[in-house]
Amino acid sequence: MGDIVRTVESPDADISYRPMLATAAIELCDLTKNLSGRTVLDGVNLTILKGETMSVIGGSGAGKSVTLKHIVGLIKPDRGSVKVGGVDITKDSNGALEAARRKIGFCFQGSALLNSLTVFENVALPLREHETVSEDEVKRRVDEKLALVGLADAGKKLPSEISGGMKKRVGLARAIIRNPEIILYDEPTAGLDPVMGTAINGLILEMQKELGVTSVLVTHDMSSAFRVSNRIAMLVKGKIIKLGTPAEFRVSDDPFVKQFIYGESEGPLTRPA
């Protein structure tokens, strides 16, 4: 755990320095998916180690969110496999998928809070549906998670009464309410002002520091990726073209990486196929 904490404080550190992270939490093997006649993922191979924070970057339509949805079984691959904790969840076994989902918390891009429920009820939902716990215990755990994301007083509000940043934090509280081993973040800072974006990044770091979870972010916010990641994978047209530490990305000569990091309008990413 001490190594993980040190990693959080210096996110550019090389992953290979931490032997305790050598076990795979998630493995994507030859993942291929076609949607509406277009190849969205084209043989993606990626291993995410236990306890690390991996950012998957890439432009719009690069296949980032589709990758994340494969990990929780919302999309089935046309070819290849997804292993969570060593178990293939793409086989026709609901048990494996359910077990994997038990380990995973998912923060949606738009928060995906149930609008008919209050903030408290949203966060309490997984507990009430899956665990036989008293209402006092539900209240204790929900209050604890809401306090962790800085929303101790927002429990009675409806999602329509809170800001986008607060919704993201409620989504995070709901994702961690059952203490998952893995948290997936879909564009966690998209649509937020820089201050709120920094606050969300701080929460992602805190999740790793406090809970020791494995995190996977998909984002096109490079400042966020550099700040919170141990490693970064870049997706272009359904393929991973570079995998490395933030430090390696910063000094990369790869024209795709350079264009994306510096947000240049001219380059291989914007060149017609």
Partner: protein, 257 residues
């Protein structure tokens, strides 16, 4: 190019078959979840209140004028034969067997079915359904089952209400236009009705209600493409429900009577 309409027809047919299969599967999955209704009683009661209380004014107007129109039209024909006194027989029987169930459920398809499709469609496009699945909460158990059975029961309750209101409307017109005494109207109505007529009509309502609920939820859960997709799901929900109510009405009438 010449095959384009054939290809389009093939795609439409495949899409229709896929939609019908999904809808039927959804109804069966919801039925299988009925054992968990106790855990969803709050949602079930909320939906029941929404379906019944929210539809009372529309069903009142629909049923009242349906009874009045039936009474007025048939009364004019019966007057030529001096048979106006049998209006109670025709109006009451017509309301309980056909007009009550069909018009109530057409109103429910427009009022509640469209609401369900829009609600679930919005949840689908805003990833709320995905969020439930990721939390291992079956949307069929959580959202569809309580709505479906609330609508089935609400359809029965509202049909009883519509039968009464429609018969009152028919009696008022019979009295005002054809001078048929209220007592004679009621007596003829009572004589005409058999238990099979009442229960047959209510059975139809229950099936129509379940059909509306299933179609609406299925359309909502299959919505895609943002607000436009939700709009399409709502439209399809109402149109398909209207057609199915009439088709099933014919088949059930043929089977029951």
């Amino acid at each position: 190019m010449i095959f384009s309409p054939i290809v389009k027809a093939q795609h439409w047919f495949e899409s229709a078959c896929s939609g019908a299969g999904y809808t039927l599967d959804l109804m069966l999955r919801a039925a299988a979840q009925l054992v968990h209704l106790g855990r969803k009683r709050r949602e079930f009661i909320d939906q029941l209140a929404l379906c019944t209380l929210g539809s009372l004014p529309v069903v009142f107007i629909t049923a009242l004028f349906t009874g009045m129109i039936v009474s007025l039209q048939t009364g004019q024909v019966l007057r030529d034969f001096g048979q106006e006194s049998t209006l109670g027989y025709i109006v009451t029987l017509g309301m309980c067997r056909e007009m009550g169930p069909v018009f109530t459920c057409l109103a429910l398809a427009g009022l509640v079915g469209s609401t369900y499709a829009a609600e679930l469609g919005t949840m689908k496009v805003s990833e709320e359904i995905d969020a439930l699945e990721v939390m291992s909460i079956d949307p069929v158990y959580f959202l569809v089952m309580p709505r479906l059975f609330a609508l089935g029961i609400a359809a029965v309750a509202l049909t009883i209400y519509a039968n009464v209101i429609g018969s009152i409307g028919g009696a008022l017109v019979a009295k005002a236009n054809f001078d048929v005494d209220l007592e004679i109207f009621i007596k003829n109505g009572r004589d005409a009705l058999k238990m099979k007529d009442v229960y047959g009509g209510l059975f139809k309502s229950f099936l129509f209600g379940m059909t509306i609920g299933t179609v609406a939820c299925a359309q909502g859960l299959r919505a895609e493409g943002g607000p436009a997709g939700v709009g399409r799901a709502t439209l399809h929900s109402v149109v398909i429900s209207f057609m199915l109510i009439l088709v099933f009405d014919y088949l059930l009438t043929w089977m029951i009577w």
